[in-house]
């Protein structure tokens, strides 16, 4: 008489696939967050301090991406890049989509935080003879960071959540690995719950870290 193996048994035999999926998820999220933050900070600075013609392309980028679902963005990067003659694999296309998404959100966060600072800060910096970049580096950005941090952490968890969309274009991240295991074991509920649990752990950890940092940098 054949007895179907228990869930824990299946989980144990699938540990390597799940672990590599987990690592891929973490990897593409970190890449997208880092690159996206880089783009976002530059775009945010230009949007705040740039002249009209410098602002226009960044405004277009931010508004275009923020008006598009991230799923469409990932699909568009995946299908359009090769058609435009740019040979990138699914992982790179996915990271590109997530990076563009992250960048547009960070740009708005940076712009919002900088514009919320009182005008007097910039004027005071000029009055004591700081150049624009000194004022930015020593006076404005440190203050803006406090404001940005909670929202930035929030958008990081958004990226981790959006990284599941890469499963649709065939990147074997945690969700796709889970689906492959489900196709083999038919333990749909158990493995989806487990994947959801793992993502929850990642995001909850980020959230707690964010709260901790927020407390550390808060003005007494």
């Amino acid at each position: 008489m054949y007895e179907s193996p228990s869930w824990l048994h299946e989980l144990w035999s699938a540990r390597e696939a799940l672990w590599s999926g987990f690592l891929t998820s973490v990897q593409c999220s970190i890449l997208a967050i880092l690159l996206g933050t880089l783009i976002g900070v530059v775009a945010g600075l230009v949007l705040t301090y740039g002249r009209f013609w410098a602002r226009a392309p960044f405004r277009f980028y931010v508004d275009l991406i923020r008006g598009t679902p991230v799923f469409v963005l990932v699909l568009a990067c995946f299908y359009m890049a090769p058609a435009l003659g740019w040979q990138i694999n699914a992982f790179q296309a996915g990271v590109l989509g997530l990076t563009l998404f992250c960048g547009s959100h960070v740009a708005e966060i940076v712009r919002g935080a900088l514009q919320a600072l009182p005008r007097g800060q910039m004027e005071a910096s000029k009055a004591i003879g700081l150049t624009f970049y000194q004022a930015l580096g020593y006076v404005l950005l440190p203050q803006a960071m406090r404001q940005m941090l909670p929202t930035w952490v929030n958008s990081s968890t958004e990226i981790v959540k959006a990284s599941t969309l890469l499963s649709v274009i065939g990147v074997a991240e945690l969700l796709l690995s889970t689906q492959q295991i489900i196709a083999r074991t038919f333990m749909t509920l158990e493995f989806y719950l487990f994947a959801g649990f793992l993502f929850f752990i990642i995001n909850y950890a980020i959230e707690l870290l964010g709260r901790h940092i927020e407390k550390r940098v808060a003005l007494p």
């Binding site: 599941t164 499963s167 989806y192 959801g196 959230e207």
Partner: protein, 220 residues
């Protein structure tokens, strides 16, 4: 680079794209309506005197907010039948999106309820209203008008999340876009038009909601 743009294939099926867009809007509308009810109940639970209510509401919010929506969609559509709950694609997606919206709206409503001046409740007590009457006639209507901007932002992001319904083959805009994409191989055209439709729809919704916000805002 010698890619010839040819929109014929996309224009031929343009009406399906529009129908998909319409379905997406409907899904978002129904979900935000249900989500508002969930969010309101959960916000009251979060602020209630009973510890059990507070804890269960905050578990709901934390879990849903930190789990990728794609995992939730797949879990509810593919895993619930294993427990004997069999749902059609569209109802299943609406349930998921409503639960998701509910978690975000709980936070919005909680903030809104906390920012209502104590005097309003006391005034209600003074004219002899009961606790539930105060909630129904005073706090909730005032709170709803105060949180309108946050509600509109949530609606737009829910509308963008309807693109994920394509993952379980709900025939909305992204679903048709992928269909046209694989049937015609007019990759660039398909995704350009799809992105443009999403951006245009988001913009129109945003404009409409800003107008409504101004009309409904409490004059100060």
């Amino acid at each position: 680079m010698n890619y010839q743009l040819n929109f014929a294939a996309v224009w031929r099926d343009f009406d399906t794209l529009l129908a998909g867009l319409g379905l997406g809007l409907e899904l978002a509308l129904v979900s935000i309506a249900i989500g508002c009810v969930i969010g309101l109940l959960m916000a009251f639970a979060l602020l209630s005197k009973h510890r059990a209510l507070r804890v269960s509401a905050s578990v709901y919010v934390t879990v849903i907010r930190n789990t990728p929506i794609l995992v939730l969609i797949l879990l509810i559509y593919f895993a619930l039948p294993g427990l004997g709950i069999r749902l059609d694609k569209i109802p299943s997606f609406i349930i998921t999106l409503s639960l998701y919206a509910g978690a975000y709206l709980t936070e919005v409503f909680r903030g809104g309820l906390l920012s209502i001046p104590k005097g309003l409740r006391e005034a209600g007590l003074a004219i002899g209203l009961g606790e539930w009457q105060i909630k129904a006639y005073i706090t909730v209507p005032v709170m709803l008008r105060n949180v309108l901007p946050a509600l509109s932002n949530n609606f737009i992001s829910l509308f963008k999340d309807t693109s994920l319904a394509a993952a379980i083959a709900v025939p909305e805009l992204t679903y048709y876009a992928r269909k046209i994409n694989v049937e015609s191989y007019r990759v660039i055209e398909t995704w350009l038009v799809t992105t443009a439709l999403y951006v245009a729809a988001c913009y129109l919704i945003a404009l409409l909601l800003r107008y409504l916000e101004q009309r409904l805002a409490i004059r100060r």
